[in-house]
Amino acid sequence: MASDTGDLLQGTLAILILKALVTGPSHGYGIARWVESTTDDVLRIEEGSLYPALRRLEDNGWVTSEWGLSDNNRRARFYTITRAGRSHLRTEATVWFRYAGAVSQVLRSAPSLA
């Protein structure tokens, strides 16, 4: 469950959701599918924690939601990234790259792994 995946993963989930919304509004299922297809199913979103995460983003003012019609004409809640959301995404992405870079650097440094 979301609670024991830790801050890192929660933050990661937030980044993934915001990134998914950058191209345009989407419903929850659409976000999950986008992440799956973009990462070739490597990152599978924990679906149970997707919706609570969306609520948190909404409370923070990074996304807004409204009801609309899906492609197959069903009533669905669509999420849109806000200006604040985009700026948050940029900040988080920077942090993430630096972190990932640091970890890679550590892993590449000698002595090399056998």
């Binding site: 469950m1 419903h27 929850g28 299922y29 999950a32 599918r33 924990e46 679906e47 149970g48 919706y51 609570p52 609520r55 409370d59 009801w67 899906s70 069903r74 009533r75 669905a76 809640r77």
Partner: protein, 898 residues
Amino acid sequence: MTNKSPGQPPVWRRYLRFWGSNVEADVDDELRFHLDMRARDYEARGLDFDDARRAAVERFGDVQGIGGALRTHDRRRERGRRRHEYMSDLTNDIRYGLRAFVRAPAFTTVALLTIALGIGATTAIYSVVNAVILRPLPYPESDRLVQVWMDNRRTGLKEDLHAWPNYADLRDQNRVFSAAAAYYTGGYNLTTAGCRENECEPQRVRALVSTPDMAPVLRVTPILGRMFIAGEDEPGRDGVVVLSNGLWTRLFAGDRNVIGRTVRLNGRERTVIGVMPPGFAFPTRDVDIWVPLALDAESKQQRSSYFLWAVARLKPGVPFERAVADLNAIGRRLEQQYPADKDIGVHLVPLPEQVVGRTLRTSLWVMMAAVGAVLLIACANVANLMMSRAAVREREIGVRVALGAARSRLVRQLLTESVLLAVLGSTLGVALAWGGLRVLTRIAPEDIPRLDQVRIDLSVLGVTLGVAVATGLVFGLVPAMQSSRAASGGALREHIRGGTGGRRAQRMRRALVGAQVALVVVLLTGAGLLIRSFLHLQRVDLGFRSDHLLTMRLSIPAAKYGTPQARATFQDALLERVRQMPGIQGAALITDIFLSSTPNSTIFRIDGREMTPEEQNVEIPVDATSGDYFKVMGIPLRRGRTFTAADNRDAPQVVIINETMAKRFWPNEDPVGKRFRYGDGTGNAPLVTIVGVVADMRRTGFDAPVRYETFLPHTQYVTSYFTLVVRTAGDPLAAVPAVRAQVRSLDAEQPVFEIASMDQLLSSMVAQRRFSMTLLGTFAVLALVLGVVGVYGVTSYLVAQRTREVGVRLALGARPAQVVRMVVRQGMVVAAIGLVVGLAGALVAGRLMTRLLYGVSPYDIATLVSVTTVIGVATLVANWLPALRAAHVDPLSALRSD
């Protein structure tokens, strides 16, 4: 369960959204959409329907749990959103309302003042009612306290005093009281040992002399020291005193080491053992000291010496009725047991009722009803004002409707405005009430208990706020409903007859005016009845000349003046000195000029004649007077003579009676020379001979019947307590310092107290009546003014609405007088209906206040006729003035208007 799938919500949930956005249904929909989409994807990959669904749920995880968490979250968010929306609407409405008030300063001023008057009067009177009636007495569980009276069927006095044995029997035999105390109040001359110069002036203090049971009955704890206890009520051991907080401050400057010091009371030393908390005032707030009641064995045997009050505390759980039954049973037993207790019963009154008498209660509730009526009249005026204003604002409201404001939203906004107006006006009103109360407590009679505790506190402000909001709703609702109705009816169209000028609105306005007139009639009648009662009282012949009389009281202590002779010598010397003073026309003494409700009285036996059983039960008061008392007071002598110097201690005992007594016991014969004996004839009371008959005087007050009177010469019946009566040439109060100086020159330690001119005494006797009359009169005038303003305002408005019609009539040849008649007639029909309804209400109100009336019937024709005349003239003028204005409009400009 009708639903097989746990993921599916019950069917009814789907319909929830009919009533607006719904959190539960939204969460269900969102999750269901997700699961359906996922299942469809699985189906596309070849799974069958059921497997696809199962896999979708599996992949999602805890559907129920997450759904629950989302619902909780969304519900909270929704609540917050609504609250926020409501508050911002409210802020907007208030801001909008304030702007609207500023734009209409005349309307706002008049409305605010009207509300302030209504609320101010209501707040002031309510705070009095709250302090005097509603707030409990300052003793723990004060509703468990009862006053215990002797029901004296011989005199018909239901609230008579007890004899000691009687009290002791009730105390010991009852099963309903946890404690019962006996007491009486009296005065003491107080001097402090080792006083500083300015404190040495001898002073008179009021004392409560009580059994030690008083502490457990009232559950009072002194703030310093202790109350007296059992054992200290025995002669010789009773040299203790408990001080009131006020006396402690006055005498000892609040010195905490006062315990153990001594004071001299009536020449006897007593040790201070305690100080009472501030505000403790039993039985009245003028009590300065509490001392134990220490009777000797002989006094405790006397079954016919009635001088004790009694107060008791009910045991927990014992209802008042059971106490009444228990005490009545004891009373009947005692009656059979002791001949002295014949025709004597017990009468219980809850203490709170006793403290605030029924007359005062009635008059305060009448005042409360009166201010309520004033408030309603004020409300009607403001409602009318609002309706007139609504007509002006019609377009503005119409625009808002056109822009999509819902009618409910519009009503809410208008109500917000009126409540805002009410609250602002009430703030002003509280300020008015605060000022009014200062005047009110100054003119109020001193015998209204707890009047010193009247204040505008939180509970009063709470009630005021509640009344203010209610007021705003009352005067705001009708106009709000009407303008919103008119507006939603399409007010953007040019209004030809005007939404608020419509028939419906007119009827509403006329109804308000009628109601106002009715209320004014009720108030005026009530005030009229009180005024007529008061005038009747003022015309009552008291039987003596009350001008230029000075009175004061003295009590010469037995410790200093041990023998009757010593006391009589002091009295004679004092009278002689005062008579010699310049500007003094006469000086005399009497025990009491006026009788309290429980006078010192006794039965008597006529010498040489058999008295009927009824006559045998008649009690007559006993007073000591100096010979010229009747001359000084201006009471005519009808027969015989008054006392002379020859009626001294050694001469035969003589008595003077009043006319009422003479007529009752010696009809058709001359009572002079007849003899009787005080008491039941068995004791050693001497025979007294009637030497004179004086005219009747009202000694128990203006509104009580004349009683039998007997007067003894002060030389033969010497009291240590007496009233000095002085007739002066000039202002009686100007003679006070000189008379005091004479007393001091005789005995420097002798205080005089209750110094007052006769006019002051009489005025204080009718003070409560004058107070209620003044208040109700003020409210009635206030109501009349508000009512006339209301009638005038509505007629003016209705006439203005009909300017075009009047113009047409005038253009067609109607004479102005006809127009005036038409307008006035319509207004007067409404006033007449209000008058009739009001008169009916006045009859009911009059009956409710019968207790406050004297010499007038609640259906007093003269009052009703006067009120009808006043209302008739007032409403006529209020209708006539606007009508006159209407009749003089220029027909052409009237037709062009609009």
